[in-house]
């Protein structure tokens, strides 16, 4: 049996500090595009077929749709005040069945900045609310509340696809086990676009635990939309990229290499425009001594970047532990703080396009 939520739908200013968010805007170098809110292009953009769409997998997004998200994100950055009522009267549920602070906050602030009402269901309230009921029942309960969109994080692979089939409101996947995290990948590709100017022709390396990272498949799927992309998967064999990702890349004729030997890492690094770092976790290794032996080779520090192009950008979905040396923070290689700041405009753009009021 479902009991009423202890928190009702929150209206008014979000209880989270927004100063840091404002600081993002001020610090950010914005290359304005010829894209003005309210012109014909924007209006047609807002009537895009992303309206009402589920964002379950990065595979579901075409290049055109992705570029539309980026254009709106640009516009959000340039004219943030114009977006304050885009979600007025819309109710967004944030259903986080797995603890998360950053992604949760990012979606929360994004929905609130657009003037939406947010129903936050985060751990541990989530558990007390649902009292061990099935995901299916929880989703049906939310549908009964009349929510206009469900943002969901869940530890099970495939949970987002299941949810999208269960409810009629659009479902945005905020992480489905080790399967995918499409909105992270959208902000990642947006970062590449902002920092590098284009995504076409990129040589992108992904390093660390590629097997259990939900970000890596989504990023690989998204960049496969672009031309002349080359991917380098740098990881020990046990943590290499999953078979279904390879199959997808082969289907789309995307060039990729798998770098599994430590001695080949420097050469791979030297070829990259962008290095995407994920955490290598001890518990993922079948043999803990293997981890001790390998961890040094997968730690990104200035020593490793000796081999890199001067223009190499280093990205990381954050938070980091010790796989990414703080020394890099002070160099132009460090893209990860800018990357983190793009979470908000891209998620605002996604909300605006999927659930926003057509203008």
């Amino acid at each position: 049996m479902v009991c009423a939520p202890s928190k009702t739908v929150i209206r008014g200013e979000p209880p989270l500090p927004t100063d840091s968010v404002n600081a993002f805007y001020k610090a950010m170098p914005i290359r304005r595009r010829v894209f003005v809110l309210g012109d014909r292009e924007t209006r047609s953009a807002f009537k895009s077929d992303l309206r009402g769409r589920d964002i379950v997998s990065a595979k579901d997004l075409s290049r055109d749709e992705l570029e539309l998200v980026f254009e709106v994100a640009d516009d959000v950055l340039a004219n943030s005040s114009a977006y304050s009522a885009v979600l007025r009267g819309r109710r967004v549920a944030l259903l986080f069945v797995e603890p998360s602070t950053r992604t949760f906050s990012s979606f929360y602030i994004a929905a609130r900045r657009l003037g939406g009402d947010v129903l936050p269901l985060n751990e541990p309230e989530m558990t007390s609310l649902t009292k061990g009921e099935t995901l299916y029942d929880t989703l049906k309960m939310l549908e009964g509340y009349g929510v206009d969109c469900i943002v969901m994080r869940h530890p099970s692979r495939g949970a987002a696809r299941f949810a999208a089939d269960v409810v009629s409101a659009p479902v945005i996947n905020a992480g489905s086990g080790s399967q995918e995290h499409p909105t992270q990948a959208i902000l990642d590709v947006y970062t590449i676009l902002k920092k590098r100017g284009e995504v076409d022709g990129i040589s992108l390396g992904m390093l660390g635990d590629l097997r259990f990272s939900r970000t890596v498949p989504s990023l690989a799927y998204l960049v496969s939309n672009f031309d002349d992309v080359e991917l380098h998967f740098i990881a020990p064999s046990a943590l290499q990229v999953r078979q279904e990702v390879e199959l997808y890349l082969n289907d789309r004729n995307v060039k990729y290499t798998k770098v599994t030997r430590q001695q080949d890492i420097p050469d791979a690094i030297s070829r990259l425009d962008v290095l995407y770092v994920t955490r290598l976790q001890k518990e993922r290794f079948p043999d803990p001594s293997e981890y001790e032996r390998l961890k040094g080779s997968y730690r990104v520090d200035m020593d490793m970047l000796r081999y890199a192009k001067t223009s190499l950008g280093v990205m990381h979905p954050l938070p980091r532990v010790d796989e990414l040396d703080a020394e890099i923070d002070r160099t132009p290689h460090a893209w990860y703080f800018d990357q983190a700041s793009y979470g908000l405009p891209t998620r605002m753009a996604i909300f605006a396009l999927v659930v926003g009021e057509a203008r």
Binding site: F162, S176, G177, L247
Partner: protein, 159 residues
């Protein structure tokens, strides 16, 4: 001739003959048709012939199901795994060749190899679905994208 031998060669009045199964693979076919539940039916008998001479393939297995017509999804699954198999329905002692449609999707029958997949969550009302990527030799979970080799399907028949 003993009564057992008579049973072996006895013709079927009605039922299914699954012929030209690759040598010693009958057990996999039995898994696919979930024979464990089938044999609970009082009228159903199952005769399995293993490693019998075949003009076409050297050796083959044959399964005869007395008083049971296999269902199309099962037949399709058998054809997917073992394209050489021929399936005959016997009706009133007469043989009728049966060619199932090969599905683009397997529904309900196969379990996802990924333990953390939502389709393996015991209490969720999830209908298991797999896209058939025949050329590539895989099926792919509709929910979690996990790939399962077609040849491994017998080990993942839903319980």
């Amino acid at each position: 001739m003993s009564s057992e031998e008579q049973l072996l060669v006895r013709k079927i009045d009605w039922g299914t003959v699954i012929d030209h199964i690759p040598n010693w693979r009958a057990d996999q076919v039995l898994k696919l048709i979930e024979v464990e539940s089938l044999i609970k039916e009082p009228d159903v008998s199952v005769i399995v012939l293993k490693s019998v001479p075949s003009r076409k393939y050297g050796k083959k297995d044959v399964i005869k199901l007395y008083h049971y017509f296999i269902k199309e999804p099962d037949a399709a699954l058998i054809k997917l795994l073992f394209p050489t198999v021929t399936i005959n329905f016997i009706k009133d002692w007469k043989v009728q060749k049966y060619v199932p449609n090969l599905p683009e999707e397997l529904v309900g029958k196969v379990r996802c190899p990924e333990v953390t997949c939502i389709s393996n969550a015991r209490r969720e009302p999830v209908v298991r679905r797999f896209a058939v990527l025949k050329e590539k030799g895989y099926v792919r979970c509709y929910y979690c994208d996990a790939l399962l080799e077609i040849s491994s399907i017998p080990d993942f028949i839903a319980a």
